[in-house]
């Protein structure tokens, strides 16, 4: 197995995010349950990082901490050198497609975060992002009239419309069928290459991680730790039948397998 381990971001890129000694435990029935243990992570500006791990390993919890929805039991997250103390419109969290507001139209959803702009500027951005995610003609539709994949694209558009530096995606394609999921991955890469946001993407799907990420942070089962960071050194568009792809994929499979004692 030949996978490059890189603990820090590529040195030529400035560090966007630094998580230092993050630990988290939840209290249930008076007992403290450790969920995350001493997580250290650096993400470079413009980087696409996948957090990969078995379900229940705390990867979504880690993402919620990074986004500022949860406070860690100890440790801190710094973005641009500033400690994260809460959610911020410069960093948008994309939930599974459930996160779109069902009482707003497609236009209303995309414009949701644009309340500080003038009407003309808002309309311009809405039109731009409707086009970018391929929802032309659905501007006046409500989410209940859209398919799962369209709702997911809508949520990504809503996030991009406020021009954030970072996107946090929590298993965004988990509820989609496998064909739509593949298409969505391609679209996300296209958008990422166009806008170069820093992306942290949580998934339990090894293929998804290897197809998308610059680096994959493999997490162990609960309490979650970062077991290994794998550099995916294949240029986009990636040939998912290439020897290097399969090698990296197998390497991660073994990592996760070891964690599970299969």
């Amino acid at each position: 197995m030949e996978s490059t381990v890189a603990i820090t971001a590529t040195p030529t890129v400035e560090t966007k995010l630094r998580a230092e000694h993050i630990s988290m435990s939840f209290t249930r029935d008076g007992e403290s349950m450790p969920v995350l243990e001493d997580i250290n992570l650096e993400v470079g500006n413009g980087e696409f990082l996948c957090l990969l791990g078995p379900s229940g390993c705390g990867k979504s919890t880690l993402l919620s901490i990074i986004a500022g929805f949860l406070s860690p039991t100890s440790g801190e997250v710094k973005i641009d050198g500033e400690i994260v103390r809460g959610p911020d419109p410069r960093r948008i969290f994309v939930f599974q497609e459930r996160g779109v507001f069902p009482w707003l139209t497609v236009e209303g959803n995309i414009g949701f975060g644009l309340f500080k702009l003038t009407r003309a500027e808002r309309d311009r951005r809405i039109a731009h992002y409707i086009k970018m995610v391929g929802l032309e003609g659905f501007g006046k539709s409500y989410p209940s009239e859209l398919s799962g994949g369209m709702k997911q694209r809508l949520e990504v558009a809503r996030a991009l419309a406020v021009n954030p530096d970072m996107l946090f995606l929590d298993e965004p394609f988990g509820a989609l069928d496998s064909i739509t999921r593949l298409i969505m991955r391609g679209e996300l890469l296209r958008i990422w290459e166009a806008e170069r946001k820093t992306i942290i993407f949580v998934t339990h799907d090894i293929d998804e991680a290897v197809q998308l990420a610059d680096r994959v942070a493999v997490m162990s089962a609960r309490p979650g730790r970062i077991q290994e960071i794998v550099n995916i050194d294949i240029p986009h568009p990636r040939d998912i039948n290439s020897a290097r792809y399969l090698e990296l994929r197998t390497g991660i499979f073994n990592q996760i397998g070891l964690a599970h004692h299969l």
Partner: protein, 221 residues
């Protein structure tokens, strides 16, 4: 028992005496006031209580203690406080609507999916904007269902209240028709009117559910 034609005759009789419109208006007047006052007080209070877990823990025992007491049990106290008249009837309708609406509002807030609130916070909404742009639209569909059911309750209670606490309205018509000479044609005419108006009120409330931006919760899942 009167025949269907007897009932029609009763309705004609009421109309010709100008009582039909007068009684319907009197009953609707009481329901409107009692229901509206209850909605104005119970919904904001319920939304607040539902938002703060501690408030719910503090108020819940009191709510659960008062709620099972039938509004009709309050009739003697209503008469003691407000005398025989509109105020008593309005008070009884207010009581009968207040607790169902309060509980609807509390539950509506507690059922808001956390993703909506987190998304609202993520986009940097002020607390006021979060209430107006996320909390309120998220609870409206549940509130409409609650209002519709509660209006039905109000309509039930107004008839009972009018049998005792006032001298006009459809409930009064029924009791009065029986007492003043066993006019069962008028009794049944009164029942028919109550049913008809109940149906119309329900149709009116249901049309609210059809408003597009309210309709999402009925079409999804």
């Amino acid at each position: 028992m009167p025949s269907p034609w007897g009932v029609v005759g009763g309705l004609v009789d009421l109309t010709s005496h100008g009582l039909l419109v007068k009684y319907v208006v009197a009953s609707l007047f009481r329901v409107t006031w009692g229901f509206t006052l209850a909605a104005i007080l119970a919904i904001p209070l319920g939304l607040t209580i539902g938002w703060y877990r501690r408030a719910e823990m503090a108020f819940n025992p009191l709510i659960q203690f008062l709620r099972p007491i039938s509004p009709l049990a309050w009739i003697p106290i209503a008469i003691l406080w407000f005398g025989v008249g509109d105020l008593s009837a309005i008070f009884l309708i207010f009581l009968s609507c207040f607790f169902p609406l309060l509980l609807t509002a509390i539950n509506a807030v507690r059922n808001i999916p956390a993703v909506y609130i987190n998304a609202g916070r993520n986009f940097g909404l002020s607390p006021g904007a979060l209430v107006y742009r996320v909390l309120y639209p998220a609870v409206v569909p549940q509130l409409i269902v609650g209002l519709r059911i509660t209006l039905g309750i109000a309509w039930l209670v107004v008839v009972a209240a009018e049998m005792i606490a006032v001298n006009s309205g459809l409930g009064f018509l029924i009791v009065d028709a029986r007492n003043a000479g066993n006019r069962y044609d008028l009794v049944v005419a009164g029942m028919v009117l109550i049913g008809l108006i109940g149906l119309l009120l329900d149709i009116g409330m249901r049309s609210l559910e059809k408003v597009k931006s309210f309709r999402w919760s009925y079409s999804e899942e």
